[in-house]
């Protein structure tokens, strides 16, 4: 039982680590659109600052939409 808990925890960690890579990929593509200078531009910084939270907001928003549409059917 303790072993199972340990495995579950490690799997959850691995999943979150993978999510961070995907989020970085998504936010890099969305926010870093120009050429590469020695530091991020002000727009890029602000975009990267907000990208994770807006992506997760989007995710919760869509989950809610889908649930509501399903409830309307019943």
């Amino acid at each position: 039982r303790e072993l199972q808990e340990f495995i579950d925890q490690e799997q959850a960690k691995a999943k979150m680590a993978a999510t961070v890579h995907e989020l970085t990929d998504t936010c890099w593509k969305k926010c870093v659109t120009g050429s590469i200078s020695s530091k991020f531009s002000r727009n890029e910084v602000s975009c990267l600052e907000n990208c994770v939270d807006r992506f997760l907001d989007t995710s919760f928003y869509i989950l809610n939409e889908v649930k509501q549409q399903r409830n309307q059917l019943h």
């Binding site: 998504t26 936010c27 969305k30 926010c31 602000s46 975009c47 907000n50 990208c51 939270d53 807006r54 992506f55 907001d57 989007t58 995710s59 928003y61 869509i62 989950l63 939409e65 889908v66 549409q69």
Partner: protein
């Protein structure tokens, strides 16, 4: 049991894809909150993606059936894509 898992994985995948495509289309410059026009866009986008998914799903299974009735080999290839 397996069928329930398949259905759940399928719904999860659909939501992930909506998330990816609708975030790309509707949240062009992530700011300090999700604005009302971004939310309205997400609602429209989610509905349209679901519509496209249903339509494409239908077309695909029609084609798989058509190929299966003409040449069994071709239908296998269509499944394997």
């Amino acid at each position: 049991q397996i069928q329930v898992e398949l259905a759940t994985a399928n719904a999860q995948m659909l939501i992930n894809k909506m998330n990816e495509h609708c975030f790309e289309k509707c949240v062009t410059k992530p700011s300090t909150s999700l604005g009302s026009s971004e939310q309205a866009c997400l609602s429209r986008c989610t509905a349209l993606y679901a519509q496209a998914f249903d339509h494409i799903s239908q077309k695909y299974y029609q084609r798989v059936m058509k190929e299966a009735s003409s040449t069994p080999e071709a239908s296998l290839e269509a499944q394997r894509l």
